[in-house]
């Protein structure tokens, strides 16, 4: 009985520790993606989730005592032996066992690229959401969307065109508020007259308010 348990534990924590870690990471990632309120935290969860799968695949390809899949000098398929025999020969089964399987790693290179693309796209989406609604918190966004829906349902005229009218006003008001803050913090902005220059302090101000938000949390 105790032997069985010890064998099981041995297998779990020594021989297959990487698989245990991959499952734990997978679940952490999944939890963050589903349960977290902040979009950025969801994306962090997504990265952890994908990394866990990469760990799983790399674990498949591990072979103890094996080397990278580049011909060892003693096998020498392109060297003098090859010239003597008239071309590269296929390795024997015994020779093949000294190399690690490269395929899982190669697959994961592709998966990493896919993961990077997804993350980049999702971050761009976050930026667009923040520009549109001024928040990256899911509950705040939902409240704003519901308000938008309600305002689009009331008037009988075109809801598709008008749906964005109300929140835009509020966001504009918010922007003008931050603008004044920006002006007080950065007096040199008064001189600038172009729209491009006046935008810069706004960005600074929102960034500052973001930091404050983060600090307070």
């Amino acid at each position: 009985m105790f032997e069985d348990v010890s064998i099981f534990l041995n297998e779990l924590f020594l021989e297959r520790l990487n698989y245990v870690i991959y499952v734990v990471l997978l679940l952490i990632g999944l939890h963050a993606m589903i349960a977290k309120n902040n979009f950025i935290k969801k994306l962090i969860g997504m990265s952890i989730f994908q990394t866990a799968i990469i760990l799983f695949y790399v674990s498949i390809g591990v072979k103890e005592g094996a080397t990278i899949p580049i011909y060892l000098p003693e096998h020498d398929p392109h060297g003098e032996q090859a010239y003597a025999t008239g071309g590269p020969e296929a390795l024997t089964v015994e020779q093949v066992t000294s190399y690690a399987n490269p395929l899982p790693h190669v697959l994961m290179l592709t998966a990493i690229v896919v993961g990077v693309a997804t993350l980049g796209l999702a971050l761009a989406l976050c930026q667009k959401i923040y520009q549109g609604y001024g928040t990256v918190e899911e509950d705040e966004l939902m409240a704003k969307l519901e308000k938008e829906d309600a305002s689009s349902r009331k008037p009988k005229t075109h809801p598709a065109g008008k749906s964005s009218s109300k929140p835009e006003v509020s966001s504009r008001a918010r922007r003008s508020g931050t603008n004044s803050v920006g002006k007080t913090t950065a007096p040199q902005a008064k001189k600038s007259s172009g729209t491009r220059k006046t935008k810069a302090p706004v960005k600074k101000a929102t960034r500052k308010s973001d930091q404050k938000k983060g600090d307070s949390k």
Binding site: Q50, I53, L145
Partner: protein, 521 residues
């Protein structure tokens, strides 16, 4: 050209995407012609491949990329594209819908996302590449990459709409990534057990190895892959991403994605069940075939009821898609020959009729600036051709005889009867009745002068209570109208020539030995 026709299917849209992105930076006007031409080229290559597949003795065309051979056992390295009858039929649907929407997209893209043509068309063409590749590939990992190609471009296309679309896309990104990652994980488990990624190779290995069917690793792989695909195809409890994403997407995007993405994922499920895991393992070694029909019933009924609650055409249509996904999943999992024929035929017909409906909805939206039901009064006298096309799609969704929807539903119901899966049959009939209510309610709004609460606004027969100005004939532009009408014609044509399609599907299904012998032959 002929022997490489499978590669051309992908190369046309792929290089079209690069071209339209590069040339589009200099001049936005060249994007649309490049998009249409590359979609057309791919469609022609698809038809050539179909002819080759039908002509070849074993109804299969194999294309090996990079000249790798697959002689060893289990099948070795190298990526293989296999076009059997099922694959090429679904590919042709993808390419046909792509061509239709490419022509249609000229004005909507210009009006809804002005100045972004050189972003739209590359993504559009890559989406077609991804979807066609999913259908053709014979490699499980390659399938994952192509799923992600299609998904990533889809996210981009949807998010191009309003800021509301960005919020909807974010949910789609999260759920889509979970789905694709679960699939990838399942492929990993398959690879542990079989040592190959080639679909046919995996199947051969499962058949040749004792005890593999009972292995729990295989069960885990199967569950993970199925779960991943079910999320991707918006099967009912996992459908949350779909309605918002398709509603708020730009018109041309929703016309391309709505008919294709969910259907292609159902194709992937059929491919996994039949080709990769094999019929024996999928239906007999797992519990899914006893659980899924009930889930399907819940899915169909709740999606139909939710569709009934909508007051806006586009939103209603998205819930119809969710219900239709339930039909097709059910057809696969009742484990019956007719169910499978119906399922495959329904993929084809549903893609055409959903295309019809979304193209029509796009035209309505453009004309009326709304797709809410109360804004549609008197629309038939204003744009009769559009509404005819729209309702051909609608009648096909209901399943009225000359349209293709009738025949696919016929096979599904026959399958349910032969398999004695009565709950599925009742769900199908229930949702059919709901669709009758949905579309005849729309017809009432459009043809008769009744308002939301049923009061008559006109003065007697034929009077809509509108001024002459409001009902004056004004159809949409030709670039939008022609795709809609040709889609409607295709819906009717597939219905009339249904036997040809069913014959092809039967040839494909012949070697799989599904239960349920023909009732009448």
């Amino acid at each position: 050209m002929m022997e490489n026709s499978i590669a051309w299917i992908l190369l046309f849209p792929l290089f079209g995407a690069v071209l339209s992105s590069l040339l589009g930076m200099a001049n936005r006007k060249v994007c649309w012609p490049i998009g249409v031409l590359s979609a057309l080229g791919a469609f022609v290559a698809g038809i050539m491949t179909l002819i080759r597949v039908i002509d070849s003795p074993d109804h299969m065309v194999v294309y090996l990329f990079g000249g790798w051979t697959l002689d060893s056992f289990p099948r070795g390295v190298g990526i293989e594209f296999r076009a059997d009858l099922l694959a090429i039929l679904i590919t042709l649907i993808v390419l046909g819908v792509g061509l239709c929407v490419a022509i249609y997209s000229k004005l909507p893209v210009k009006e809804e996302t002005p100045g972004k043509e050189h972003f739209f068309y590359p993504l559009f063409l890559l989406q077609i590449t991804g979807l066609a590749g999913i259908c053709l590939t014979g490699d499980a990992f390659n399938l994952y990459v192509l799923i992600e190609v299609a998904a990533l471009t889809g996210y981009g296309l949807i998010a191009m709409g309003s800021k509301r679309a960005a919020a909807a896309t974010f949910n789609y990104v999260i759920l889509g990534t979970i789905g694709a990652s679960l699939y990838l994980l399942g492929v990993g488990y398959l690879y542990i057990k079989t040592g190959t990624l080639n679909m046919v190779g995996i199947n051969e290995f499962i058949g040749a190895t004792e005890g593999l069917k009972e292995s729990s690793t295989m069960q885990v792989a199967f569950v993970l892959i199925c779960l991943g695909i079910l999320i991707k195809m918006a099967f009912f409890p996992l459908h949350a991403w779909l309605p918002n994403a398709y509603c708020h997407a730009p018109t041309a995007t929703s016309c391309l994605l709505a008919p294709l993405v969910t259907k292609v994922m159902i194709y992937v499920m059929i491919r996994m069940v039949l080709t990769v895991f094999g019929v024996d393992f999928s239906f007999e070694s797992t519990l899914w075939s006893s659980v899924l029909p009930w889930l399907v019933v819940i899915a169909i009924v709740s999606a139909a009821v939710m569709a009934l609650a909508q007051r806006e055409i586009k939103r209603m249509l998205t819930y119809l898609i969710v219900a239709e996904v339930g039909y097709m999943v059910g057809g696969v999992w009742i484990y019956n020959y007719y169910g499978m024929v119906g399922s495959i035929f329904h993929i084809i017909s549903d893609a055409c009729m959903t295309l019809c409906l979304f193209l029509g909805a796009g035209l309505i939206l453009r004309k009326c600036k709304t797709t809410r039901f109360d804004g549609l009064r008197g629309l038939f006298s204003k744009m009769p051709l559009t509404m005819t096309g729209f309702f051909v799609g609608g009648f096909s969704i209901i399943g009225l005889p000359p349209t293709c929807g009738f025949f696919s539903k016929w096979y599904l119901i026959t399958g349910a009867m032969v398999a004695e899966c009565w709950e599925y049959m009742v769900a199908l009939l229930f949702s059919t009745m709901v669709m009758v209510v949905l579309f005849f309610r729309l017809i009432e709004r459009i043809h008769l002068a009744v308002n939301e609460s049923g009061e008559n606004l006109g003065k007697g027969h034929g009077d809509l209570g509108l001024t002459k100005e409001q009902t004056r004939f004004s159809e949409g532009p030709l670039t939008m109208l022609v795709p809609l009408l040709s889609a409607a014609a295709v819906v009717l044509a597939i219905g009339i020539y249904n036997q040809e399609f069913v014959n092809l599907i039967e040839i494909f299904l012949d070697p799989f030995d599904l239960p349920g012998e023909p009732l009448i032959k």
